[in-house]
Structures are given as structure tokens and as C-alpha cells.
Symmetry: C2
Subunit: 193 residues, 2 copies
């Protein structure tokens, strides 16, 4: 990795961290420069506009999640996964943003993307990466037609996570909710293969 990439990476991490902690409104050039330990000149050299920064933050986030989720999907594909292990994987997803920030940053980015059509492709990639991991897990758990159920399971996870964050709940609620979904999809009279 070149020095230039490393500085970009530091800037992007700072953006996601600030967004997570204090919201999109707090993402000012001055604050980013302070958090990333660089000069304002260096920042504007790397990112001319706020939109460039948000797009780069989104792209970096998607790339990090893609690596993580691909590793998880490979691990799941290697052997049968039971509900307990699926719960552990989910717990890791629910409590780790991949940026060491809090999860609000995800939703802040989604809200930005909803207002900014140039972010639609990155968001679509992000969700498709989630879908692929969900297919592996659902298939291993014996859910019929994992491909068509996966986007629903991803949506349920996103919705439960947003509900617990906005209502002040714990990550355990999300994991329990997902276990309930799997049970509803595989339980009697619809038993797993």
C-alpha cells in the first residue's frame, strides 16, 4: 500500500468514525483533519468535495464488508452450520462495524445514499454482498429456496438492528429475532431437510 493510499484510508476511517459518533452534520474538513492527524491541505488534496468523501467512505465500507462476508461465507460453505454457530456469526456482524465505529454510521451512510443517486450503486453492492453471505448461512441451516429468502433475511437483520439502536436495545435482541426468523422458515410443519 502506497503512502497516498494509507492517508486516504486514514481519512476515510475518520469520516466513518465521526459520522457514527456525531452524525453527517459533524463531518467537517477541520474535524476530519484533526481526527486523521493531517493538514487541511492534505485533506482537500485527497478529497475535493464532501460528496467525494462520502462516496469514498461508502466504497471503503463496502469493500471491507465484502472481504469479511466472503470469508464468513467460505467458512460456512466448508461444513454444516448449526443455529448456535449461525448465532455467533450474526452476533459478530451485529456488534462489529468493520471500522471500529458504532453502527449508526451504517444508517447515516444509507440515509446519505437515499439522497444522493451517485451512491446507489455502492449501496446496491453492499446489500448484494450481504445477500451472498445470507444464502450460504440459510442453505447450511436447511432453509428451502435460500436464494429468494436471503434478501428478506438481510432486510430483517437491518430492520431489527435499526429498531434496537433507535430504541436503546441490546445486540442480543437482534440475534434472538433472527433465530426466530430461521425457526419460522425451517420449523414444523416446515422442517429442514
Amino acid at each position: 500500500m502506497s503512502q497516498s493510499e494509507s492517508t486516504r484510508e486514514r481519512i476515510i476511517r475518520a469520516v466513518v468514525r465521526i459520522m457514527g459518533a456525531d452524525g453527517a452534520a459533524a463531518v467537517t474538513n477541520r474535524r476530519i483533519a484533526t481526527e486523521a492527524g493531517i493538514s487541511l491541505g492534505t485533506l482537500t488534496y485527497h478529497f475535493a468535495t464532501q460528496r467525494d468523501l462520502v462516496e469514498a467512505g461508502m466504497a471503503a465500507f463496502v469493500a471491507a464488508e465484502t472481504v469479511k462476508f466472503t470469508q464468513l461465507a467460505d467458512h460456512v460453505a466448508e461444513g454444516a452450520v448449526d443455529l448456535a454457530e449461525a448465532g455467533e456469526i450474526l452476533g459478530a456482524i451485529v456488534t462489529d462495524t468493520g471500522f471500529g465505529g458504532d453502527h449508526i454510521a451504517w444508517f447515516e451512510l444509507f440515509v446519505q445514499a437515499a439522497r444522493n443517486p451517485s451512491l446507489h450503486v455502492a449501496t446496491t453492492d453492499f446489500f448484494e454482498t450481504y445477500d451472498r453471505l445470507a444464502v450460504s448461512i440459510l442453505r447450511a441451516l436447511g432453509v428451502d429456496d435460500a436464494e429468494s429468502v436471503a434478501p428478506l433475511a438481510v432486510a430483517t437483520l437491518v430492520g431489527l438492528q435499526l429498531r434496537r439502536l433507535a430504541g436503546g436495545g441490546s445486540p442480543d435482541q437482534v440475534v434472538a429475532g433472527m433465530a426466530g426468523l430461521i425457526a419460522a422458515l425451517t420449523g414444523p410443519p416446515h422442517s429442514p431437510a
Copy 2:
């Protein structure tokens, strides 16, 4: 309704409208006053702080949704609802915010709530109102154990809505996704009663 309540209502509608159009960062006193057609003095008389405004916006939104969802739940409870009618109800929820604004305002409010513990109760009420409507619809569609499935269906709806807004999709995607969830929960070999 007194004149004072009417002014509060106008302010709150302006807050939700601005939030939906341009985000929480755009909710300034000056802009609210302009949009609501009142003086700055009138605004600060009604709401001393930004936090008061966001809390009032959330509470008003929850109250409006509670009325709407209670009416829908009563309507559903009156007779059997088929998938087509459930789809129409969902379509109305997905395309109407109850504030004439766009749906990003909902998610903006949830993100605010995630950062502000004083909004957790309002958020919890909001989701519980959704749950009650979902129980009525799922029961009418013949889903077993509608009470435990309802929060999952609500989470799926929220997640699908966020994904389509952030990815630039259409409301039809959300309605189709929910139809898929109902089919997965009621379809063969798990057929409705």
C-alpha cells in the same frame, strides 16, 4: 384545536419536511420559521431547543401513525384479507409518510433516536404500533403464531424500505418482498389454515 396547537403542528410538519428533503443538518431555526410561515420569536417560544423540536417531531409522527395503523388494523379485523388487499395496505404504508414528506425523514428520525436516549420511548411506541397492525394482517392471512412473527415482518418491511431508498429502487420492490415473506411463512409445505 387551539391556535397554539395549530402553530406547533405547523412547526412540526416543517421540521419533518425539512428533515426528509435535506437531512437533520438542514433543520435550522431560520429555515423552520420560513417554512412554517412564523417568526423566529414564535418558534423559540414553542420550542426552546433543537432537541425539543426533534422529540416533538417524533411524538407527532408516532401519534399520526398510531391513528392510521389502528384504523387499518380495525379494517383488517373486520373480515378476511387476501394477499392482494394486504399488498394494497402495504403499498399505502410504503408510499405515504403521513406527513406528505418523503420516507427518508423516518430514517433520519431513527438515526437521531439512536443518538438520543430521550427518544427511545417514542421509537419503541412507534414500532409497537407497527407490530399491532402486523399482527392483524398476518392473522388474517393465516400465518401461525402471528404475535411472534409480527416484529420480524415489521423489521423486514423497514429493512426493505431502507434498502430500496438507499439503492434508488421503487416501492413495488418492497411490496413484492413482503409478499415473498408471507409466501415463505404460509406457503407449502406450511400451508395457511
